[in-house]
Structures are given as structure tokens and as C-alpha cells.
Symmetry: C2
Subunit: 336 residues, 2 copies
Amino acid sequence: MNIKNKKLLNLVKSIFVKHKLNSYHADISAKALINAELVGAYGHGISRLKMYCDRIKKNLINPKPRIKIKKISRSISHIDADNSIGFVAADIAIKTAIEHAKKSGLGFVAVKNSSHYGLSGYYAEQAIKKNLITMIYTNAPPAVAPHGALKSLFGTNPICFGTPTGNKVPFILDTSISKINRGKLRFAERNFLKIPKDVALDKFGKPTNDPKRALQGVQLPIAGFRGSGLAWMVDILSGVLTGGNHSGRVKDPFEDFTGPQNIGHLFITFKTNLFVKDYNKRIKDNIKRVKQLPKVKGMKEIMYPGQNKYKRYKMNLKKEIKISKIIKKELEILNN
Amino acid sequence: MNIKNKKLLNLVKSIFVKHKLNSYHADISAKALINAELVGAYGHGISRLKMYCDRIKKNLINPKPRIKIKKISRSISHIDADNSIGFVAADIAIKTAIEHAKKSGLGFVAVKNSSHYGLSGYYAEQAIKKNLITMIYTNAPPAVAPHGALKSLFGTNPICFGTPTGNKVPFILDTSISKINRGKLRFAERNFLKIPKDVALDKFGKPTNDPKRALQGVQLPIAGFRGSGLAWMVDILSGVLTGGNHSGRVKDPFEDFTGPQNIGHLFITFKTNLFVKDYNKRIKDNIKRVKQLPKVKGMKEIMYPGQNKYKRYKMNLKKEIKISKIIKKELEILNN
């Protein structure tokens, strides 16, 4: 079934309000979910709505959080999100980091007691719109085995970096440290799709192309020891540093209802013109020079991170959003 | 031939002094080179000494730089290294970043007009000794092809992250974004060794295990589009942002004597206890939990980044440093 994105937005918002979020928080959360659909990150979209509502019902996400912002310096703040839905925590955090950077040149904002916030790139966009560069880290439930280990412990722990480009399409690298992101596994599982064979192992340590078995098993990090090290770095920056859960203690939001997630995030923002006056000219030149390189056969254009997502977003904005029968039914039940 | 590391240190120092570095700068530079030998990063060690001296002789590295430190805020400084040898620029930069972090919680120091500084991890160590967390970025001459391109443009652009661990062995991730680092290629070339076949292409775009051909060709990024994106991020953070060269303009120090390198670096440092009181306890717990995981067959211990390097360092400290005949001859000539 197809549905207009504005209609879906309103429906999701009303579902969040029915689950006790205030209208402002429901709006923030619904917009983040619809954005994930529009950029084609379906694993972070509407398919997660039921999970959020389930966790609210079980008091694992606090629909009426008393979020505390502790200002440490002109650049640094620490946010205790009081187990809010992650979207709201991240929204406050990036806004605080933007404010800090606008005033002092630099923002450094840590969040604890949060939950899954969707796509890091979505928050990066906000900073870029204010002409700031941003680096964002979050941890996530165990999915990736540390190099040498037979068991998952790190999350897919994305590394996100965003910068203005001097044109309307931002540079946003938002890459998980696993060969495939967990949202994509869930999407494949829900839609009975196969996954590539070299991205995950089943619970016995054997390669599998079955997303269900991969979800029970272990996702592989990119680049072996190096990717494992990057995932570890993200766990330290977003978990150990912030006061959030870490080292495998972040609960799987779909499967573990024994407590809140207490995910941690770290948002770093800074002005583009701290050290050079002509940043926009420089970044434009940088991108142009990369794009001018000779290309491998069949490659039309060398793309920078975020460009494809932006194209998908613009295209999808004109279209209706496709939802499966399962999701349609979920939405009906949740809206009752 | 074998030589005691202290003797080699003094020899290298005297060579630098003969090449017009002042005694303090020669000491900094010699220590960085010997450290690379001791941690087993031979591609960044003594084999580079002749290159540095050649560049000094050709006025491409300034042996008497007038380094300017522009303080922008309590946390932020911009350093113009005046084409100094990279070791000296990086040494001043990390010390400035440490000072900022000690005073304001956070240090953010950019460097322009620098040159190759060796191992990022060496500077990370300094910050960790002062109980700070650090993130360090530098760009480098073209070595890695952007995803989809047939020509090198990004450097091997390391991502470096370091943190105290609550024990004497620091956590230092210092990973280049190429499948193999350029120093290792050079080391293999000098010593007539082969390289793995999936890490580089020759200049015609074909896989090669010949380091010489790989050096003329293209190194491959880790993880395809993702690794390429990470390399791009590092080029922006260390080059576009800082006022350094970027997008392939950093000259190869061994081959291109048409001008100084103007490499850029970015040093970020911050206190471990910004957001939690018990960081040391938390990071100890984090590492312990990872180490306790069941291991893949044949794996004795799950290591964290930096652990192996530390072991090698401690071991090598007791031994003499092995130098090849070629290097021995170079040292003799340079010391004349």
C-alpha cells in the first residue's frame, strides 16, 4: 500500500501522542522516522515504530522525560536524557552543540540515558544547515564481534562526519562499522530477502546469507582488526566517556525488555572558518578535484558521501511511501 | 648490522644538527624516528632519515622555522609551522592541545604548513600520559584512489584515537585508511619483499604483489566506499579545515621536490572526567569485558589497539636496532 508522506507523518505523530509523548516530542520523533523512509534507510524507518511503542508501554522508554542539560563550559554540556526516546535526546543534544559552536566556535555535547535515535546523519544535517562541521558517535546493542572474539559485543557503532559543501547537498558520511547495518538485516528478515554471504556469521560461526540466522549470530566488522578498533573507539567515545552503557550492555530494543537501553551519544560541532576564511571555496575545490579524476569503467560520477542519500530523498519526496501489509496492520493496531 | 638504540638516537640527532636543525628540534625529530623503529613501524623509522635531510638541503623543509601559534580561544589554537619538519610541528601542536585541555577541558589545535610527522600514535601517547583522550588526523601524499576513481588522490590518511586505560598500556588506535600503509610498501620495496595481492593495483589498474609497482599505482582503501569516505573525512579535517594542502596536493616527500608539502594536522584532546567521575574504572571494565569473550580458534588473547605495539616497544628496548647495509651507508654519508 502507498501513503503520502505527510499523511504518514501525521499518523505516526498521532500514534506517538497516543503513547503519551507530548506533541512536540511526537513531532520530532515522527519526522525522524519519516526522514529515514525518505532517504531510503528503511531499517531505521517506520518498521521500528512498534518497537518504540512497545518500549514505552513497558516503561523502558520514558514518554515524559525530565531531560537535564548540565552546562560544563561555553563549549561543553552533558545531557541526562532520563530514558527519553532517542530522537528527542539527540534533537536537544545537536541543538545544544550547535548553540555552543555558534558562541564559542566549538561544541562538545555528551548524552547518557538515551535510546536508539535513528540515523546520525539526520542530526548532522541540522548542524550543517547552520554552517557547522560535525562529528557524531553513538553506540548500539551488540552486533559485531571484536576481532578475535566469537561473540558479538560492539554495536554497529556508526561514525558520522558532516560538513557544508558550498552547495545545497551536504557531505555526510554516516557509516556503520559492520559490513552491513543491523537495520538492513531486520528489513531483509521482515521482507524475506537474502543478504550477501560475507557480512555475517550464524551463531555457530559459519557464514550465512539468511538475515534471521545473521541476527542470531555475529555481524562482521569492516577491515578486520581495524574496523574492530573503530567500533571500540565509538563504544568508548559514546559509552565509557558519557556515562552511558558500553561493552555490550546496551540492550537490543527489539528483544530485550529487561531494562532501558541507556545508550550514550557524543556530538562534536565546530565552525568552518576557525582557521581559514574561505572554507566554502576550499571544500568546493576539494570536491571538484575528486570528481574530476578518471573513473573506473561503468562509473558515471564519483559521488561524495551523502550525495546518493540526498538524491533519494528528493526523489522520494515527490512519491508516496510504500508500506508492507505487516506495517499497515501494525499502524492500525498502534493507532487504536 | 646492529646498533644500540641510544647510540642510533645520538647519531640521528647529530645528523639532524648537521642539517641545521637546532639541538632541541633535532632531539624531538630523532626521538620520533627511533620510536618508530622501537614500535616496529619501520616504514616510519630510520629509512626516512635521508628523505628528511634531502628536503632540508633543497629548502623544502625549513630547519629554522618561525612557528606561529595563534590562540583563538581557551580551547582552540591555529599553528603555522612555517614548513618545519613535521615532528617539531606535531610536538608543539600536541603540547598546545594538552595545555588547552588541561585548562578548559578541551583542546582543538589545527596545523598548516607542516610536513610528514611520522606516527600519529606517538603524539597520542603524550596526551594519554597527561590523562587525556585524543583524536588526531593528518593527511598525506596521494596513495589511495577515491571509490570509483582510477587515480590516487587521498593519502593513507590515518585515523588516530587514544585513551588512558587505567593501566600502563595505552589504548591507541592508529589506523591508516588504506589496506596497507605506504611506509610498509616502501619498506617492502627497499628490502625486496612481496606484498599481499589484494591491497594495491599497479598503474594499469591490475592487482600486484610487487611493492614497486604498487607505489607507482594505487593503494586500495579499506571497505570500499566506506573507507574512501573515511579517507575523505580525514582530508577535509586535516587539510581543508586547517589551511593545509588537500585533495591530492600534498607532495610525495620522496619523489616530488617542487615545493614544500604543506601538510595539515588536527589534534583534539579532552579530559577523561568531563562527564563521569570514574572514567578509569569504566574503561578498565570495558576492556575486561571484551577480553573475557570466547575467542576464535588459535587466538590467545583479544588485544586492544596499541597493545601489540607496546609489547614490541618493550621488547625492542632491550635489543639493539637492526639496520640494513643500505641504511648504514646512508647514515655514514649523512653524518659526513
